[in-house]
């Protein structure tokens, strides 16, 4: 087995994404862990080890951008690739401006995701 390229955490309330995305990330050579909510992620031991977040924008409870704020507030800034099912440039652009690596519209292609992750992991 090749050494891991890093740990990518997936936070999404949608079960399909939580099931499928970690497998694809592993195919890409990452370690992957999925969380169904921002709170679950914040409470997990993976928090401090995560190299990159693939983060859903709209979730019950704390939303993706709010999780980003919370992490910044804690001084635990993690590179974030946002994913959203709501195709709206007015929501996407502010996220990019605030420092997100990218914001991908669901459904996104494996190459788009890989390109975004490559910008994090070089």
């Amino acid at each position: 087995m090749r050494p891991s390229r890093g740990l990518v955490a997936v936070v999404d309330d949608d079960q399909s994404v939580r099931e499928s995305l970690p497998d694809l990330l592993r195919v890409f050579g990452f370690d992957a862990q999925a969380f169904s909510s921002a709170a679950e992620f914040l409470q997990s031991p993976w928090l401090g080890k995560t190299d990159c977040l693939v983060l859903d924008v709209a979730m019950p409870g704390m939303s993706g951008p709010e999780l980003q704020d919370e992490l910044d507030r804690r001084g635990q800034g993690i590179p974030i690739v946002f994913i959203t099912a709501h195709k709206d440039e007015d929501e996407r652009l502010p996220l990019i401006r605030r420092g997100a690596i990218d914001c991908l519209y669901k459904p996104f292609s494996d190459t788009a995701l890989k390109a975004a992750l490559d910008r994090v992991f070089g």
């Binding site: 994404v17 099931e19 995305l21 497998d23 195919v27 709209a58 099912a85 709501h86 459904p107």
Partner: protein, 619 residues
């Protein structure tokens, strides 16, 4: 001597000094139908008219005591019971010492004269009363001698006291200054040439009042050069003022008809005589001199409305209810809408007349049509707008499983192309691909339900199920706005006939308004409750309660009006359309401010016919 006295055609009599009768001639007795014995003394007074007894007795007593001749008038009853007037004359015969020895007297029949006087007095009274009633005074004028006579009423009309001697100058001094020249000339010419005079002019009274008089003078002189006029002066002020009022009210009526575009008509049903007012002629495009008949009318009625007109007219002929209907006219190339309101009148002579008014309501109808067209266009816009909302929601719902599908498919592909291929992993991801595909298909199936009944279709609606569909569509939006959306759905609500998609648009409109009302994420609390209830009045109710900015300061009457919005970027048609939809279901839409914060919007729809029971709230 007695024979002579009896023979003369005069009633003769004599009395003793104290007035006691001691003689009546034959003529007298036969008039009275009494014997001399019965008449002697005071017996004759039985024939005196009771009303005259007192006067005669008193005169007679005066004469006797004064011993002077005298006379009086009284009625005596003839043998046949008829009273006649007599002049009683009495002459005393004196003795040497100056005392009265006897009284001799005669009674002269003055009945005819009396009656003539009576008739004259009566006719004078009639004339005076007639003059007063007609405000007409009599005038007699002889220019040559400057003699003028005015009757009492003439004085009254001219406003002079009766003791004032009338003159031409006096008459002219009352004349209104503006009329004086003309009147003066005509009067002068009448005096010179003896021409008959007939004129109307104004009088200016001392108190500033203006009277109108009509003067007619006719020359009855023996020849024209010596005129002698009789005539009448009539106070025609009332008539003039009435004429003025009539002219004025006619003018006002015409003006009123012109302004209100209302004409009036009369239709004598038995003779088919029709009269149109000026404005009605204008509405029908008929010139003033065109004779109005049914041919003229029907040729101007819009062909499709002819049967209606015929029906209404035959109803009138049958004497049934008063007509009240609306028809269209084709006048030139113009289509007019007119409203007809009539009243059937049964005259005393048995004929029937239909009186009525016709109002040109074209402008109103055209405006209403434009409004309806605009409303349906607006409804279309609203529909498109909520379809946009739905389209975004659909995209969201479908994109979620699609993301899974695409990711699984990619993963599966990568696993198969790896060396060595990860067959087990590929199979697992493929299985998930199929599952997500099914999930997407479910979403689409669910959404298709919303659209397959795109046109208005009445069907049994389960309001809980319909609400849950909208709620699920808007849940992502609610989440994005940090609003917690709760549902409190009444179990076993009856189904009702309705247009499910339209009602869902109303619910969606309520929910979107709640999102807008709650506004910025900093504002707390952020709750929306969708509630369904079965009210005690057997209506099915749906309400959306929010903790937003509320409706204080919003006119509740205007809340549901089109284009009335409190939102910076709203068109203000959502609630208006919602109201149309709810009212089309026979329901009522309402809004109320919550006691603490926010507002509740809702509708209630009567449960006219139960079509089953909602089960959605149980699932």
């Amino acid at each position: 001597m007695n024979k002579i006295i009896d023979a003369i055609p005069v009633m003769a009599w004599s009395t003793l000094p104290d007035g006691t009768a001691d003689f009546f001639n034959e003529h007298f007795l036969s008039f009275l139908g009494m014997t001399a014995e019965a008449a002697y003394g005071w017996g004759w007074t039985a024939s005196l008219h009771p009303d005259d007894l007192e006067n005669l007795t008193s005169v007679w007593a005066t004469l006797i005591s004064s011993k002077l001749p005298g006379e009086t008038e009284a009625r005596l009853m003839r043998a046949d019971g008829q009273y006649r007037w007599f002049l009683f004359r009495a002459n005393p015969v004196y003795a040497k010492d100056g005392s009265v020895t006897r009284w001799y007297g005669t009674n002269t029949d003055i009945d005819d004269r009396k009656r003539a006087e009576e008739a004259l007095r009566r006719s004078a009274a009639f004339l005076a009363q007639g003059q007063t009633l007609t405000e007409t005074g009599s005038v007699w004028w002889k220019p040559a001698t400057q003699e003028i006579f005015w009757s009492d009423e003439a004085y009254r009309v001219a406003g002079y006291p009766k003791n004032q001697q009338p003159t031409v100058e006096l008459m002219l001094s009352r004349c209104h200054p503006d009329d004086l020249t003309d009147v003066g000339e005509m009067v002068a010419r009448a005096a010179e040439e003896g021409a008959n005079l007939e004129l109307e002019h104004r009088l200016l009274m001392p108190d500033g009042d203006v009277k109108y008089v009509r003067i007619v003078l006719q020359n009855i002189g023996p020849d024209r050069s010596a005129p002698e006029f009789i005539g009448a002066v009539t106070d025609i002020t009332r008539r003039k003022k009435a004429e003025e009022r009539l002219r004025r009210s006619e003018m006002l009526l015409a003006e009123g008809q012109r302004i209100s575009l209302t004409g009036t008509f009369s239709w004598k049903v038995d003779s088919d005589e029709i009269t149109f007012s000026g404005e009605l002629r204008r509405i029908f495009g008929l010139s003033d001199n065109t004779v109005v008949d049914f041919d003229r009318i029907t040729e101007r009625v819009y062909r499709e409305d002819l049967p209606l007109l015929a029906e209404k007219m035959s109803n009138v002929r049958a004497g049934s209810d008063n007509p009240d209907y609306e028809i269209r006219l084709k006048v030139g190339d113009q289509l007019k809408h007119v409203r007809v309101v009539g009243r059937i009148i049964k005259h005393l002579d048995g004929t029937t007349e239909c009186l009525g008014a016709v109002q040109d309501v074209t402008a109103q109808r055209v405006a209403e049509e434009a409004r309806d067209k605009l409303r349906s266009e607006l409804a279309q816009i609203a529909r498109v707008m909520s379809l946009n909302t739905m389209a975004a929601a659909i995209a969201h719902e479908v994109n979620q499983p699609l993301a899974g599908i695409v990711t699984n498919a990619s993963t599966s592909l990568h696993m198969l192309s790896a060396n060595p291929p990860n067959i087990e992993g590929a199979i697992e991801t493929a299985r998930r691909t199929i599952r997500d595909g099914n999930r997407a298909a479910d979403v689409i199936t669910r959404l298709r339900v919303l659209f397959k009944r795109g046109t208005s279709a009445m069907e049994p609606v389960d309001i809980n199920e319909a609400t849950l569909e909208v709620v699920s569509l808007l849940t992502p939006d609610m989440q994005r706005h940090k609003i917690s959306l709760h549902t409190e759905l009444f179990e076993t609500l009856p189904l009702f006939k309705g247009d499910r998609v339209q009602l869902q648009q109303v619910v969606m409109n309520f929910l979107r308004n709640s999102i807008d009302a709650i506004g910025e994420p900093s504002q707390l609390p952020r709750d929306v409750v969708v509630r369904t209830e079965f009210a005690s009045d057997m209506t099915i109710q749906l309400s959306v309660e929010d903790t937003g900015c509320g409706i204080a300061g919003v006119d509740p009457d205007r809340l549901f009006d089109a284009f009335h919005t409190t939102k910076a970027s709203g068109m203000g048609i959502g609630l208006s359309i919602s109201r149309s939809i709810v009212e089309a279901h026979g329901g009522r839409i309402w809004a109320k401010a919550n006691s603490i914060v926010g507002a509740t919007f809702g509708f209630s729809i009567p449960n006219a016919k139960s079509d089953g029971v909602s089960l959605a709230s149980r699932s």
